[in-house]
């Protein structure tokens, strides 16, 4: 069976295209599946996280996945970040060092993920000059996203990540996708409340809201991320089930996808030229924390 993909940017339209790919293939088992990219003239590299998650679920159902008719430029991008090496091709050297490789993690791989981020993102010479404070905020944000997936996804299939620098645009994109139960189901199981997919994402972004089990408070991670993105001037998108949520220029918008995505995706766009100091408005006394 053959499926076609359009151009893939990290936006609502492309998340919708990937969700449709999932919808069209989710019943397939033991099949030969061809993903035809002849019309995919652009592929935002960080979207490999979401694309890879869908292809991984196909492989998990013992389908044979083959990616065909890849335009040259897209093939170069997806070879540099190692994505195509998962589908029988070679990884080619990333001469300019602008890719953050595509990688899959299990939920127990916290330390492996931490090392990946340190090695591939923070300790490389090619990383754009970011202020010390921005770099710290950025790495905290990435770990918050991963922790969120670890704590909430309830997946055995893994967590997928990928990123890309755009030196000329002073921009860094990073996406984490999981094949978990999604935010809507988590809330339903935790509170009994049935929200629409978009409402569920809004719920999860409210400070103090958590679906963690047991005696563990939570519900700060996404709020911290949003606060950072608001200051940085970047963008954050969350896709879960059929919900799409975007925060940009301190404005939130939600939309519905035509089909559900099989898990949750968090995608951030960081302005690396940001010179905000992120200093606190008042000194915090260590004696006055508790």
């Amino acid at each position: 069976m053959r499926f076609f993909l359009p151009k893939i940017h990290h936006d609502h339209t492309s998340f919708d295209a990937l969700a449709r790919l999932y919808a069209e293939t989710k019943e397939l088992n033991f099949n030969k599946v061809e993903i035809d990219l002849r019309e995919t003239y652009w592929f935002d590299a960080d979207m490999c996280a979401a694309f890879g998650a869908i292809l991984y679920s196909l492989g998990d159902r013992l389908n044979k996945v083959n990616i065909i008719h890849i335009p040259q430029e897209v093939e170069t991008i997806l070879s540099k970040n190692g994505f195509l090496s998962h589908y029988g091709r070679l990884t080619i050297p990333d001469r300019w060092g602008t890719t953050i490789p595509y990688q899959r993690f299990d939920v127990e791989d916290d330390h492996f993920f931490a090392n990946y981020i340190e090695d591939e993102l923070l300790h490389r010479d090619e990383i754009p000059d970011m202020s010390r404070e921005l770099l710290k905020k950025f790495r905290e944000s990435i770990f918050e996203i991963f922790s969120n997936a670890v704590l909430h996804s309830r997946t055995d299939l893994g967590i997928f990540s990928c990123g890309q620098f755009f030196p000329k645009k002073d921009q860094l994109d990073f996406t984490v996708a999981d094949l978990g139960v999604g935010i809507q189901k988590n809330i339903k199981d935790c509170t009994g409340e049935k929200y629409t997919p978009e409402e569920a994402i809004i719920w999860a972004t409210e400070e103090g809201h958590t679906t963690k089990e047991g005696n563990l408070p939570g519900g700060l991670g996404l709020k911290l991320l949003i606060d950072f993105i608001d200051l940085n001037g970047g963008c954050i998108q969350i896709v879960s089930d059929a919900g799409y949520w975007q925060r940009k220029n301190r404005t939130t918008k939600t939309e519905r996808l035509s089909c559900p995505f099989p898990g949750t995706v968090v995608s951030i766009e960081i302005k690396t030229s940001d010179t905000n100091t992120y200093t606190l408005t008042h000194e915090i006394d260590a004696e006055d924390i508790f």
Binding site: W203, E206, F290
Partner: protein
């Protein structure tokens, strides 16, 4: 028995990256045992470069589920933390106090906020 013990998060986690909830749990186990024995504890952030709310919720936030605020305040001290780390910790602590004060009410209040936004 020492009058005061010092716990280095860097040593417990084995890395400057205090980011995983599972690592926070290891710190929590030590803090819980010490507080149960009424020991004064200094928690050192020395060498820690990155923190997440998930780690701090597990390490410190959940203490508020079993100890009262006065007990934690009198026994637990923080050392070697940068200002922005203290700010994150303060936010985690405030969130935990609110959560354990009345979890149901806390969840309901946020749901009402959501309903007003819809």
């Amino acid at each position: 028995m020492p009058e005061e013990i010092k716990i280095y998060m860097f040593e417990v986690v084995g890395s400057p990256l205090c980011v995983a909830s599972s690592d926070g749990q290891k710190v929590y186990e030590r803090l819980k045992t010490a507080l149960e024995m009424d020991l004064n504890v200094v928690l050192s952030f020395h060498n820690v470069t990155t923190l997440t709310s998930a780690f701090l919720n597990a390490a410190i936030g959940q203490l508020y589920g079993i100890f009262d605020t006065d007990q934690i305040r009198s026994l637990l001290k923080i050392e070697d933390a940068e200002q922005d780390d203290l700010a994150l910790l303060k936010r985690v602590v405030d969130n935990a106090k609110l959560y354990f004060k009345n979890p149901e009410k806390f969840n309901r209040a946020i749901q009402e906020t959501l309903n007003n936004e819809a």
